[in-house]
Structure formats: structure tokens, C-alpha cells
């Protein structure tokens, strides 16, 4: 066992503690580095390489996989759906989370109210998908609707809708051309149901960090609730909103489970991750699957950079 050297500690700067023992840190890092290199770094580089190869990775085919991806209508639909997720899911979950964080902060049963919204965070996407497939369950007209959404719909005189199959509602068909199928909105809603609690909890912690003196000073100066929210709370909270937003963006891009269990990507609901899975296991085309993974990585890259910058700022202010 390597002993630490007492002599080192007379210059008690935190980082100097083990200065003399050069190899030791690497022994402590070794297991982690082994896993990170073998299962994260090497595979990432390898996937990049595979994306320029044919389906069984036996020959290089240049950028053909990428050309195929951007030419095929299936991928275009998937990319568009990811954009829909990115925008709608992120904005709704963050927005609702912020509203609920502010509202629940005003009442005494705050933790109870928050728990109700937060619980979906604990369960799997798979369980959430089952819950909502049941909510959206569809029976043809004239049968008893056992799904709550259609029961309410038919209760107020609408036709029952096959929410997870339907590409467009009869009434708003005109507004939603092309790949913006309505079933995608139904699945995004499930994502919002799951992740609003996350946004709410993180933002609520941010809200609690705002000093009451600032808020009281504003009240004394005659500001109303509305002004205080827009002029004080929102600006102070914006870094926290950014953290929530980037987390949700990553979720939206990587999103697989929910779509896979709810529709398996059928009826125009594919996203990049489900398409990649199909290329892997249904078509055994590892070149195209890799190219799709690279597309995901490139989309997430800005978030990586934002995270690094944020981390550096944090370190400097520590």
C-alpha cells in the first residue's frame, strides 16, 4: 500500500496533498478510464467509422449512408418529428414546469401538490407508454369507449379518434400538412406529462434561491405580481431555465422508449432513434444505423459545448 508523505502537507494547498506520488492518481482512475475508453470513447469513434461503411461493415462506401438518410422520406419524417419533439416538448414542459413551480410555491401543501406532478418522473417510459395507450384507447363509434380521452370526447359529442394511429384530425387537417401527424402530438403530450415534474422541481429550487429581500423591495416599490414575475423572477431564473431546457433538448433528441412502446414508430411517428433501431435489427444495416446515430450526436453537440462552458464558469466561481 502506498503511504502518503507527511512532508507534503506542510505546504497545505489542497491539490498538493499527493503531489509526490505521480503514478498513484492513475491507479485510482484506472477502472473508470478502462470502462470509459472501452465502452464510450472507442465505440463513439467506431460508430463514426461504421457510418461510412456498407451494411455489414465490410467495405467503405463514402458518404452514401448520409445521402440515403437525407434523401429518404422515412428519415425526413423522423427528423421532422424530432424537431417537433425538440420544440413542443421542450417549450411545454419548461413552461408548464415554471408555472407550476411558481403556483405551488404560494400554498402550504406545496410538497403534496408537487409530488402529484413529479411522480411520473419515477416510472419508466415503458410504464408511462402503457398508461397513455390506455388513456388513448380507441373503439369504433357505437361501442363503449374504455379509454378516458375518447370517453370524454364522445361524451361531449365528438367522434371517437384513434389517437395513436390518426394522422390528422378531421377538423384541423388543413392546418397540419405533411408529416406533422396528430398522433405525434398525442405522444409528445405523454412526454410533457412525464417531464414537467422535472422542470418544476429544478425551477422551484431556483425560485427558492431568490432572496426575499429583492422581492420585498419590489413590492414596497409598488410592483405587482405580474411585473415581479417578468422583471425580476424570470431574469434571475434564466440560467436555471437554460439548464432545464438543455436537459429536455437532449431527452427530445434521444427519445426512443416512449415512441417504441406506444406506436413502434408506425403511422408516421418514427424518430431518429427508433429508425436507427429498425435499421439495426430489422434491416441489419449497420452503416445506416451508425449514420443515424451520428446525426443524433451532431444535433446534441451544441449542448455538449454549452455544458462545458457552463461548467467552466461554475469552476471559476467555486
Amino acid at each position: 500500500m502506498v503511504k502518503a508523505f507527511p512532508g507534503v502537507f506542510s505546504r497545505t494547498r489542497r491539490q498538493d496533498i499527493n503531489r509526490r506520488v505521480r503514478v498513484l492518481p492513475w491507479l485510482w482512475l484506472l477502472p473508470a478510464l478502462f470502462f470509459i475508453i472501452l465502452f464510450l470513447v472507442y465505440p463513439t469513434i467506431e460508430t463514426l467509422r461504421l457510418s461510412f461503411m456498407n451494411q455489414d461493415s465490410s467495405a467503405y462506401i463514402g458518404a452514401e449512408n448520409y445521402q440515403h438518410i437525407f434523401a429518404s422520406s422515412a428519415t425526413r419524417t423522423a427528423l421532422l418529428n424530432n424537431v417537433l419533439w425538440l420544440v413542443l416538448f421542450t417549450v411545454l414542459a419548461t413552461g408548464l414546469g415554471l408555472i407550476f413551480a411558481v403556483l405551488t410555491g404560494k400554498v402550504r401543501y406545496e410538497s403534496l401538490a408537487k409530488a402529484a406532478i413529479f411522480i411520473p418522473m419515477a416510472i419508466s417510459f415503458v410504464a408511462a407508454a402503457v398508461i397513455w395507450r390506455f388513456m388513448y384507447a380507441f373503439r369504433p363509434e357505437g361501442f363503449t369507449q374504455t379509454g378516458l380521452v375518447n370517453a370524454i370526447g364522445t361524451g361531449i359529442g365528438l367522434e371517437p379518434i384513434a389517437w395513436l394511429v390518426e394522422h390528422a384530425l378531421p377538423y384541423i387537417d388543413v392546418l397540419l400538412p405533411g408529416p406533422l401527424h396528430t398522433n405525434n402530438f398525442a405522444i409528445v403530450a405523454v412526454g410533457v406529462w412525464m417531464w414537467t415534474g422535472f422542470a418544476m422541481v429544478v425551477l422551484s429550487a431556483g425560485l427558492k434561491g431568490i432572496s426575499t429581500e429583492v422581492l420585498e423591495a419590489a413590492y414596497v416599490d409598488g410592483a405587482n405580481d405580474w411585473q415581479i414575475f417578468w422583471r425580476i423572477i424570470l431574469p434571475i431564473l434564466s440560467p436555471t431555465i437554460a439548464v432545464v431546457g438543455t436537459t429536455l433538448v437532449i431527452q427530445a433528441l434521444k427519445n426512443f422508449d416512449m415512441v417504441w412502446v406506444m406506436t413502434a414508430g408506425n403511422y408516421g411517428t418514427d424518430v431518429v432513434a427508433t429508425l436507427m433501431f429498425k435499421e439495426m435489427f430489422n434491416f441489419h444495416n449497420f452503416g445506416r444505423a451508425s449514420a443515424l446515430a451520428v446525426v443524433l450526436l451532431v444535433a446534441i453537440l451544441p449542448v455538449v459545448l454549452i455544458n462545458i462552458r457552463r461548467f467552466r464558469v461554475q469552476e471559476e466561481t467555486r
Binding site: 470509459i36 415503458v126 406529462w193 422541481v201
Partner: protein, 293 residues
């Protein structure tokens, strides 16, 4: 503002006015809370209803007398639809999938926080960057790697994968926590001649229980709730965790709601228990995890 001069009536009416003014707020919160709970309640209620009832009427009609609830669905899915073995598989996957990465990350985090070496900060920044690299980017090579090692489709194979996938976040969280421990305490331990191992196991880990608890909950739920990694790596039907088993159930019995709801509830039980019993750590883990994808 002193209430001393006011009569009880006046004070009471002031409170009543406040209550009326705040009534819309309470109404909104209660309605939203109920709205958010309704889907889960529907699942729970349906899982206790008879197959014929579930197929012929909405779950909200189950609250009429005479109540007709049954445990039959649970008995069915546990024995006939492999939910029992799958529950066990989920545990077999999740427990090492939680402990191993945390231990390994603990070693690395200790080095990052308390040792000085060349390239430390760059290396740690690299780990931060890895936090959000999409899993999809690694799946194909990892599958091939595990196949070459004859570990694809085995529990050790998925343990290795989950260990690797959990590491960046675990290292990140623990390094930040370890770095915040009081320096004097560690220094005096070194001065007393304690080895790094001793300091790590006897001092750093015990002092970090809150962070370890949050991390353990986060990682456990991540592995427990995972579908994608299990789908790719564990194709052996005898070893599938619950998430995969339920997904298969959905594709073969998509409208047998009494089965699907009870199966889903079995998979939710453990996360819900953890949520209610350890809510504080759970929330802290989520807060710390807001950087992980």
C-alpha cells in the same frame, strides 16, 4: 398591520376575504394535481378489475357498488406472462448495475478531487462532455464488443454496459461532492499516517452518504427503467427485464388492458416505493442530474 385594535369579526372577515381571493389559485393547483394523477389512477384501478369489466366499461365506472375488484390479473401476469421472472431479472440487472459504477466512479472522483496530476482538469472536462453523448452512438460497437467477449445476451454483459453508461454522471457528481469536503479533516487524517484507501473508505465515503444515496437512487432507477440497452444487449428471452417483457406484452396483447395495466404496475412498484420513502434524496439526485441526458 397590528390586529390588536380589530375585533374578532374584522379579523375573521379579513381571513375570509383572503381565502376568497386565493380560491382560484387553490382551484387551479388542485385541478392540475388531479389531472396529473388521473392516468396513473386509471392504470391502478384497471389492474384490479375483471377482464370482462375492463373490456366493456371505463375504469371510472368501477367506483359503483358493488365493488368488484380482483387480484387475478396479477396472478396471471406473474405466472403466465413471465412478469415474475422478469421482476427478478430487473433486480439482477439493476443491483450490480448500480453498485459497481458508483464504486468505480468513487475511486476516480477521489483522484479528481484530492490528487494532483498532469491533465487532471482536461480529463475531467472530457468526462463532463461525455455526460450527454447519446447512447445510440455507442450501441453497435458495444454490442459487437460484447459478442466478441461472449458476453452479449448475458447478465455480466449488461452490467458492464450499464457501468460504463452510468460512469460519467457518477464521476461528475461525486467529484463535486468530494471536492466540497473540509480539507482540514482529510489533511489531519493523512498526517496521522492514514493511507488513501483508508481515507477513502473510512472518511470520504461515510461523509458522502447523502450524495451516494442520491446517486444510487438515480442510477438504480435509470437501469431499472431502461429499455434500449436491454433490448440491444439482452436478447435472451429468459433474461429480459420487465421493461422488455412489458414491451413484448404490448405488441402481443395490445388491448388486453387488465394484463398490461397490472404488468405495468408491478414494474412501477419499486420506483414508487423509492420515491415515497426517499423523496428528499430522489429530488436531490434529479437536481444534480439535470445535466445528464
Amino acid at each position: 398591520m397590528s390586529a390588536a385594535g380589530k375585533s374578532i369579526d374584522e379579523r375573521f372577515s379579513a381571513r375570509a376575504r383572503k381565502l376568497v381571493k386565493r380560491f382560484p389559485l387553490h382551484l387551479i393547483i388542485v385541478l392540475v394535481g388531479l389531472f396529473w394523477m388521473t392516468p396513473s389512477v386509471g392504470l391502478l384501478v384497471s389492474s384490479f378489475r375483471d377482464a370482462r369489466d375492463v373490456a366493456s366499461s371505463g375504469w371510472w365506472t368501477a367506483f359503483q357498488l358493488p365493488f368488484q375488484f380482483t387480484l387475478e390479473n396479477y396472478a396471471d401476469v406473474l405466472t403466465q406472462n413471465r412478469m415474475g421472472p422478469s421482476f427478478l431479472n430487473s433486480l439482477i440487472i439493476s443491483i450490480p448495475g448500480t453498485i459497481v459504477p458508483i464504486l468505480i466512479a468513487g475511486f476516480a472522483a477521489y483522484a479528481f478531487a484530492w490528487m494532483r496530476f498532469r491533465g487532471r482538469d482536461v480529463l475531467f472536462l472530457f468526462v463532463v462532455a461525455l455526460l450527454v453523448v447519446p447512447l445510440q452512438m455507442t450501441l453497435i460497437p458495444v454490442l459487437r464488443l460484447l459478442t466478441d467477449m461472449h458476453l452479449a445476451g448475458s447478465f455480466p454483459g449488461i452490467w458492464l454496459a450499464h457501468t460504463a453508461y452510468g460512469l460519467p454522471f457518477a464521476v461528475f457528481l461525486l467529484r463535486n461532492f468530494f471536492g466540497g469536503l473540509p480539507r482540514e479533516l482529510l489533511e489531519s487524517a493523512y498526517l496521522d499516517g492514514a493511507s488513501n484507501m483508508r481515507v477513502f473508505f473510512r472518511l470520504v465515503l461515510p461523509l458522502s452518504v447523502p450524495a451516494l444515496a442520491s446517486l444510487a437512487i438515480f442510477q438504480f432507477l435509470w437501469v431499472w427503467n431502461d429499455l434500449l440497452v436491454a433490448l440491444v444487449i439482452l436478447q435472451d428471452p429468459a433474461k429480459t427485464p420487465m421493461t422488455v417483457a412489458i414491451t413484448n406484452l404490448v405488441s402481443s396483447f395490445g388491448t388486453q388492458w387488465q394484463l398490461l395495466t397490472s404488468a405495468a404496475f408491478i414494474s412501477m412498484m419499486l420506483p414508487l416505493v423509492i420515491f415515497f420513502a426517499l423523496q428528499r434524496y430522489f429530488v436531490q439526485g434529479i437536481l444534480a442530474g439535470s445535466v445528464k441526458g
